[in-house]
Symmetry: C2
Subunit: 420 residues, 2 copies
């Protein structure tokens, strides 16, 4: 029998306890032994959670309990769980966590401490979708060429609504907050940080890249307007917040930002709060994994799968790129300014003769070749130029945006969205 201690018995923790009870029949069969939750740690002991497990408000009751084999960390935050997970591993307990923020900053240190102890975190990326399992086992014959995914349901819900219902960003943000999809402070979701944490975890598994959020390009969806969406529709694109990992030679680029993506790509067809991650392997080609990226039971499904895996194998399944020599040894992070992409720009300019010529000249001067131009009246004195480019280099585009800002006929900060 395997005994589990849950640190942080909130929505997900409660689901973990309930799944282990509700599905005990198949879980015991699949794990080869019984798995029971012995105790859980909560902040507020007074609150009834309808669980028949021992509750405590003291982490030590679990960390010092020799009967507990697996610690499930669901506290949230970074430094406090870091300390708790370290202590759990040092006391010889296997650890399962769904804490992406913790992993975004400390996954390598924790893997180092864990050594051969099981340390698993399927639920930390895309909730109930077994994407880590797919990378680690299902695609193990492949070098991973790229990964591209919808890793934040809140942003995808908002972009879907803006696209299908023509709602403005502010209105749909308020609705998302009312529905509980977005936090009172939404910046963690809409700013791309949540997706970035997940991308960094996947990048470690596929490439062994040890990067922190500060090291990579992270942008959100705050600047997307109906002008951009109508341009996207007109030219056969959807607009999505994507996490992208791409290997070229010995370099890996990691970036999170709003993207224009061709409507016929599978990723572009994923709407609403759902998540989906496309993985391109050098042998298998593209495979895609779709499902719920959040929710108590969906996330707990991944946590319990890890516990079953631990019970079954009794040992750690190596996390690729972590504790084994791999591409990670030789791959380095590609500097943001060297990223190559197609770009879309929205430039609000004076509605006067000659302006278009001067704008296109600036593109030319910065070695950026224009693919399409759409001009839309903005107000009675200005127009919006909606421009897509052929493949260009990030630093050239950034330079040109500065050049544009310096022009008296450019009324507002130009908005740029990359095209994948």
């Amino acid at each position: 029998m395997i005994k589990v201690g849950i640190i942080g018995v909130g929505t997900v923790g409660t689901s973990v306890a309930n799944i282990l009870k509700d599905n005990a029949d198949v879980i015991s069969a699949r794990a080869g032994r019984d798995i029971v939750v012995k105790s859980g740690v909560v902040k507020n002991l007074a609150k009834d959670r309808g669980l028949d497990i021992t509750l405590t408000d003291n982490v030590d009751d679990i960390l010092n309990d020799d009967e507990i084999d697996v610690v499930v960390e669901l506290m949230g935050g970074v430094e406090e769980p870091f300390d708790v997970v370290k202590r759990a591993l040092k006391s010889g307990k296997a650890v399962v966590t769904a804490n992406k923020a913790l992993l975004a900053y400390h996954r390598y240190e924790l893997q180092e401490i864990a050594q051969d102890l099981p340390f698993e975190y399927e639920a930390s990326v895309a909730g109930g979708i077994p994407i880590i399992n797919a990378l680690r086992d299902g695609l193990s014959a492949n070098h991973i060429e790229s990964m591209m995914g919808i890793m934040n349901g809140t942003c995808n819900y908002m972009m879907t609504k803006m696209t299908n219902e023509g709602v403005d960003y502010d209105a749909i943000l308020k609705e998302s907050q009312d529905l509980g999809y977005a936090e009172a402070d939404p910046s963690f979701d809409v700013g791309g940080y949540d997706a970035a944490h997940k991308l960094l975890i996947l990048a470690s598994i596929a490439y062994g890249i040890d990067a922190k959020p500060e090291d990579i390009l992270i942008e959100g969806i705050e600047n997307v307007t109906q002008d951009d969406i109508s341009f996207a529709k007109e030219f056969g694109y959807a607009i999505k917040l994507l996490g992208i990992a791409k290997k070229t030679g010995s370099e890996v680029e990691l970036r999170v930002h709003a993207c224009l993506i061709k409507k016929d790509e599978m990723i572009a067809k994923i709407d609403g709060v759902m998540n989906g991650i496309s993985v391109v392997g050098d042998k298998v080609g593209e495979t895609l994994y779709y499902g719920p990226g959040a929710g108590g039971d969906a996330t707990a499904s991944a946590v319990v799968a890890n516990i079953i895996d631990i019970a079954r194998s009794g040992k750690s399944t190596p996390m690729l790129g972590f504790d084994r020599p791999m591409e990670g040894d030789t791959l380095t992070l590609k500097p943001v300014e060297q990223i190559e992409s197609k770009y879309y720009l929205r430039i609000n300019v004076s509605d006067k003769a000659g302006v278009l010529a001067r704008v296109t000249k600036l593109f030319e001067d910065n070695n950026i070749s224009i693919e399409t131009i759409l001009q839309r009246p903005a107000d009675n004195i200005s127009a919006n130029l909606l421009i897509s480019t052929h493949v260009a280099v990030e630093k050239d585009v950034q330079k040109m945006i500065k050049d544009l800002e310096a022009q008296e006929f450019v009324h507002a900060q130009p908005v740029m969205i990359r095209i994948v």
Copy 2:
């Protein structure tokens, strides 16, 4: 080091050997040891396959080779590979196969013989998509409520072409044969048998259902016409050949047939030769797995993943529903006539007054409630009635189709397509 023998070095077998060589660096790291192909069996020794492995035309050279740890069976057929795999397992070798026909008929006997010896077949379902891995590991916390998938790329390619380009069935079948997507005798694909083999394998893993192709409903796409497709478009459906496994109470229904499916379902958005399988777990909800269902490298990617898994764990990962007590013990196959579904019918009738009334009366007499009716002129004496129903019982619908055939105003065998 793990030594592999490949029985049947055709397209897939050659890819297996090449992947193990090309990606030896990551594969050794991930497997924890080197994996090398020692020898392979071919029919024609004269043909050069550009491989630096020992080739023989005698299966015994591999089955009797004590150095070989893993036998990869890629011969095709049923009884001959059945004998070979049995002998391999009895001589203590692990077996990996991509042979879905073999598994559709003998998976339980082989699992019985294998006992704790690794016997794996990720590549047998949906080629490069790690769907068995997902069911066995990623979704292990869940009871599987249903599985629905595009498991045959040829049919999906044909239905996509018929939908997007208005091509007729015969024309697109010929094109598919010219492109090599369809065999000279296409019945195995277009008749639904290939998809059925894969569905039976998934049903064993999820439900432990020991059924043979003869036991389940298998229909193909041969009768789909542009009339049906235009009806589907008009009412927001796509037409796909789907394999469906659904659990209700203690019964599991297994069926393969053309389906009308709402356009906004992810499965309906999968076009061309690609495969995709949607799995609904009682805790995680719906997850979907998409990718290439065929092709040498894609299929070999799954074969090699199994070999890596064997090298890594050194033992068999239990196949759910097979060698462990599970739902399979109590679940039984639902009789076809008891299947409940919505239905679409195309009925070619005399274009005369009163006919519609008599047709609708027959629906009523058989307890089948009509949802929509569309009438289209067929030729100068007849019209096509395109009718969709609310949920009805299969045996009532079959009875009504017989009743319709008996009417003098019905000119041709009515065509029925189920709606999911």
